[in-house]
């Protein structure tokens, strides 16, 4: 193959190729020439300038915090905004002796300030060199003056103006709105575009809409002198303010709901039955989110976390309670739809029912006599639903409860929500490895046992009954818009699922619920609106519930004397007006120790009155004294 010689004549290079290669060479020389010119410019012409900059690391970067988006109610009333505040910062590298500086500083800040310093510096390990660490946000004027006049003793310390979150009405709607706090290390690793020391929504709306509310950080490169004082700004990009969140919440109605709950712990949810918009979502007790905005102290934090009343919890979505007799609406729907009973089917209530060796009591010891489903709902007869429950079986009950939205999350725009629980035989086998016992169905039939629901789910369910069987996804946010009013997010069309109940059966249940509030033997008469001095007549339809919180109970005598956590929960769900429903409401009073008709129904009444008679409402007539006079049970 080879010709044996190492030297082989080289191929003739085509002139075209030579020309191209020459052009390439010229191009390479030109480009490298430009790079070398640039290099010479930086290193020779500007060399001394950059050398001096590098000696003290004189170019600093400051992040400019954006103004967080404002939260307003559906009418545009501002609920959460920002106010300017002074933040105390330190650049540790600029402090000649950090411990001395901090010791001097703690004179002005007091003891709690010292904790903050330790915490801030501990967290600063992943900051850039010469980046400022925030020691305390929102310092008061006294501190500002003190620090400014003692700057010579405080090398490296300075004050910066930044926005601070302001919750205008303090406790108002706080479990719903949530709060902001400094980003944690875990959050920092998970999310994009945040830096140490940034504020982030931690709960509620603040967290759910964080991406819109946060805005975008700006930044500034500054040249500083050897003492860390700013000489000039090299470049600056202004921060972009966060978007405005317009809630579906009606602040007036929310106020009415919180007022109506009074000193009770509990929740109120009001929902538009046609759109699914949540008009009010009250949860008591609340807290003051401004504590977090200012930098919460250790004492405040432990007060909030240790309180057995759990003020940070939004009970409307995070509280799962047995529904008690309000569950009878589900039972009636299931029984009618499955044709286990007809509208006129009657059972005899003698005050209790024997199942096996155990007697399950009706709340009315004397019994209700012969009752059909309408009367059973109006008077909340337990025995009737024991009978119905036995005939349905737990799995068929569960199917209708699921269809009506129970046992799973509603999908509301909040970061956390409980699904509640609707037991089935399969669930029990998986959870406990045990079969389902018939006696347990009896408990389920009156909304006890394993059953648990959230107030929001009950409002959603009631709305579905009211609007002809459409289960609506609850909407908390009406829209999100930029500061200059451009809409950036809007919920899509109303999302609804058909619950699969015939209109005949729905009508029957609705009529019965009307009876609960408007007939002499109804358990929910305290919710009547026509007792008010109003010309308009608004008919309310509802259902009461009293749910045992503990199987054993707290002993004999009045529940008022029982321990708090053993007392019954009081429920009331309702919709109005009866003929053309507009709103649905669910009221839960936690450990009320009283019947739903007595505690929860008047609360619903007060809120509904505000909804229907808001303009020129007679405040005196709204008083609940009158309603309390008409005693009603369950």
């Amino acid at each position: 193959m080879s010709n044996g010689s190492l030297h082989v004549r080289q191929r003739e290079v085509p002139p075209e190729l030579v020309r191209r290669a020459t052009r390439c060479a010229l191009f390479v020389v030109a480009v490298f020439g430009l790079l070398i010119l640039r290099l010479a410019y930086l290193q020779i012409s500007l060399g001394d300038y950059y050398r001096s900059l590098s000696e003290n690391n004189r170019v600093r970067i400051e992040s400019l915090r954006p103004i967080r988006g404002v939260i307003v109610d559906r009418a545009g009333e501002i609920l959460v905004d920002n106010r300017p505040s002074f933040d105390l910062v330190v650049v540790p590298e600029d402090a000649a002796d950090l411990t001395v500086t901090l010791a001097n500083l703690s004179h002005f800040l007091g003891e709690s300030g010292e904790n903050g310093i330790a915490k801030a510096l501990g967290a600063g390990s992943i900051r850039r060199p010469f980046e400022a660490v925030t020691l305390k946000r929102g310092v008061d004027w006294r501190t500002v003056v003190a620090v400014e006049s003692h700057r010579i003793d405080l090398p490296g310390v300075s004050l910066r103006v930044g926005p601070q979150r302001r919750y205008r009405y303090k406790q108002f709607a706080s479990p719903l709105l949530g709060y902001v706090g400094e980003i944690s290390r875990a959050e920092l690793e998970q999310s994009d575009g945040y830096r140490m020391g940034d504020l982030i929504g931690k709960a509620g709306i603040e967290r759910a809409l964080e991406d819109y509310l946060r805005g975008r950080s700006g930044g500034r490169q500054v040249e500083v002198d050897a003492f860390g004082r700013q000489l000039r700004v090299l470049s600056e990009v202004p921060p972009i303010a966060g978007d405005t969140v317009v809630l579906a919440i009606d602040a007036d109605l929310q106020r009415a709901a919180e007022h109506a709950l009074g000193e009770h712990e509990g929740a109120v949810v009001v929902m538009d039955v046609n759109t699914g918009e949540v008009l009010a979502m009250a949860s008591k007790p609340g807290f003051d989110p401004n504590w977090f905005a200012k930098g919460i102290t250790r004492e405040q934090w432990s007060e909030l976390v240790r309180s057995p009343l759990r003020p940070l919890n939004n009970r409307a979505v995070l509280g799962a309670y047995p529904p008690g007799s309000t569950f009878k609406v589900v039972m009636a729907a299931a029984a009618l739809e499955e044709r286990v009973i007809g509208p006129q089917t009657e059972f005899f209530c003698g005050g209790g029912l024997w199942v096996g060796t155990r007697r399950f009591r009706c709340w009315r010891a004397g019994g209700h006599g012969r009752v059909n489903v309408t009367r059973a709902l109006i008077e909340s007869c337990d025995v009737f639903f024991y009978e119905v429950g036995q005939r349905l079986g737990v799995d068929r009950i569960a199917e209708y409860a699921h269809r009506l939205g129970l046992g799973r999350k509603t999908g509301i725009d909040l970061p956390a929500e409980k699904p509640g629980l609707i037991p089935t035989t399969r669930w029990k086998r998986k959870r406990f490895g045990q079969p389902w016992f018939p006696g347990e169905t009896i408990s389920v039939a009156i909304g006890q046992g394993y059953v648990s629901v959230t107030p929001l789910q009950m409002a959603q369910l009631t709305a579905a009954i009211a609007n002809g069987g459409r289960l609506l996804r609850p909407k908390l946010v009406k829209r999100v818009e930029t500061v200059d009013g451009r809409v950036v997010w809007e919920p899509g069309d109303t999302e609804a699922k058909d619950v699969g109940l015939s209109s005949r059966n729905l009508n029957l249940i609705r009529e019965a619920m009307l009876g609960v509030v408007n007939t002499p033997r109804g358990t929910g008469q305290a919710a009547r609106l026509d007792t008010l001095a109003q010309k308009q007549e608004i008919e309310v339809a509802g259902k009461t519930g009293t749910a045992q919180a503990s199987a054993a109970g707290g002993g004999r005598g009045s529940q008022r004397d029982w321990k708090r956590e053993l007392r019954d929960h009081a429920w009331f769900v309702a919709f109005a007006p009866f003929r053309q429903p507009r709103v649905a409401i669910a009221v839960l009073v936690e450990h009320a120790g009283e019947h739903g008709g007595r505690v929860a129904a008047p609360i619903a009444r007060e809120v509904l009155a505000r909804y229907f008679f808001r303009a020129g409402a007679d405040e005196a007539a709204l008083g609940t004294a009158q309603a309390r006079g008409r005693l009603s049970r369950r």
Partner: protein, 367 residues
Amino acid sequence: MRQFDRRLLYHFDWFLLAIVFSLVCLGICTQYSASYGLGSASSGIVVRQFSWALVGLGGMLVAVSFDYHYLERHAYLVYALCVLSLVGVAEFGSVAGGARRWISFAGFSLQPSEFMKLGLVVVLAHYWSRARSLGRSTLLDFLIPALLFAPAGALIVAQPDLGTVVTLAIVLVSVALFAGLRIKDFAKLAIAAAAAIPFLWAYLEPYQKERVTVFFNPEMDPLGAGYHIIQSKIAIGSGTVFGKGFLKGTQSQLHFLPEQHTDFIFSVFAEEWGFVGALALLSLYAALIGRGLVIAMRAKDRFGSLLAFGVLSIIFWQTVINVGMALGALPVVGITLPFFSYGGSSLTVMMIGAGLLISVSTRRFTF
């Protein structure tokens, strides 16, 4: 066969090899300096880069000893394997720094987009070596390779790695011009492409638009890219004429520079060795590229010529983009300095590329 080997050795391109070795050694020294003060992490970086250099050397030897005409015969297979590895990244790749670019196994992680560079050059050289004779190429001869490039480009954009895609596109155009695409035709294409941009722009998601905007205008992001640029300029400028000396670069020692042993390694070098050192370094690259041009010109056949030109245009453009970025003259993109930056895949690919250059150079006399 024995004679074949002797001839290879006789015509071996020692000059090219010497330049590559000096660049790799200087690179490792600079990485040591850049990570100096990081304790054990520093020696770890040097040891790892040295091991990769040995791997690269192996790859280089293989590239030299194999006849590059194997590549010509299996060009599409090579290219398909590269595209497949990119699909692998999209499916099973590991994420770091917000991008999915690596395939990890047994403690190593490879970056297939680096290997794609060679794959693209091979397939381009193959296609255009068979196209009509030089000077007669038409637009169609350009469009088919451009379509070949599309899937690879899309996969790399998705990672996302805009810098690599831009480099590959520039290499594609460079090789096309060298293969005979007329400037006039290229201008038409460029105008058409520019006209298409607004339409493509409309299809992008807001976050993608933002990424592209910051790419071309880093001042918009003073905390990120803008910060890197000013720190890099301070580092380079403060080196002045003679530099601060080895291990004395304060900007880099204090870790002001981001990615200082990968993307900003030039800044570290220029700070410590000054204008004189940086000039010397750039001269090494210029010599390498000049030598490469001679090899491309004198290659025995058209495939060898285009292959050599492709490899050297990768080296040239990466050098220009990386140094231009460090000097604050070009947008900040994640492009490594060939042979110099820290990074196993990049170094290995560059050394294999150098091996291909030597292979083309050595075989120019053999028949």
